[in-house]
Symmetry: none
Subunit: 150 residues, 2 copies
DNA sequence: ATAGTCAAGGTCAAGGTTGGTCAAAGTCAG
DNA sequence: CTGACTTTGACCAACCTTGACCTTGACTAT
């Protein structure tokens, strides 16, 4: 049984409950899980790195603390930018350009690119005879999908 | 009989009992079959490859483990089956069921699942006022996307 | 102000617990 | 006898846990 995983699980839960940013006490955590305080540092450095989507700030001394926050990744920012740029309609050419750019910037993977390209293709949307409707569909489908990647 | 075959047989049995995915301990297996631990690796690498229909993940250190999972029917076969099952129209509930099943069967990844669910949602397709049109769109979008995964 | 105290958190290395690798030696069918 | 497959064991790598010792900062007595 790995204590580190239990601790990590607990921190993740608290951060989620606290809306993305939690104030913790190393000694309290150590006591709660009956481990040495330094184990908390181990958990933080191995499981709460930026790569894992978290940042950790702390302060020593009286009233010290450890703050664990979920970080908003670059990818998310880029995605949000695109989402905000898309209007209520999106023609096939513009959609292709967006996808190509995002692929280029590695905001989306090759597989995601292909999936989205297929979903936004004129063929996939052929059931909507009206071009304006198709363009509206493209915009809303792309937006919803991109938001899912957040 | 060869020890390797006994070990393989045992692992196959456990994986089957555990519903396709078993958590094993190399040292326990080695002890059970009175062999050196590395023989377990030999068995795994020679008899539990993707070609054999299995995947193996593992982790070292305290609380380490070896997970052996049976690989699902080939992705492409399942995908084609789904594509052929989908008619010309697909309502939201049916689409959700298809996606859920494919996710469960690991035919699609979690990310693909979320993307597709977003793309096929009634909200994404709201621009098509007519339900029949929406259902047609859902069918063609799903089909085209699934074929992209082939 | 200054220095001392004490309550935080930080570092690091040692030791423990798994699983991984590789090559030598063994076995066995053809 | 030979080549493919199997078995072993020495050595390696990854991950986890613990504890001794260090640093920082708020507070307090002088």
């Amino acid at each position: 049984m790995r204590i580190s995983d239990l601790i990590a699980e607990y921190i993740i839960k608290v951060v989620a409950e606290e809306n993305g940013s939690a104030l913790l006490s190393r000694s309290e955590l150590a006591e709660r899980f009956r481990c040495v305080p330094s184990q908390i540092n181990y958990v933080l450095t191995t499981r709460f790195t930026p790569e894992h989507g978290y940042t950790v700030e702390s302060r020593r001394g009286g009233g010290g603390y450890i703050r664990v926050s979920r970080v908003q990744m670059t990818r998310d920012r880029l995605i949000m930018h695109v989402v905000n740029t898309i209007g209520s309609q999106l023609d096939a050419a513009s959609a292709a350009a967006f996808l190509s750019n995002m692929r280029q910037a590695e905001v989306i993977s090759d597989e995601e690119y292909r999936l989205l390209a297929a979903a936004l293709s004129d063929q996939a949307l052929a059931a909507a005879a009206d071009k304006n409707i198709r363009d509206m569909l493209r915009a809303s489908i792309l937006k919803r999908c991109l938001l899912q990647l957040t």
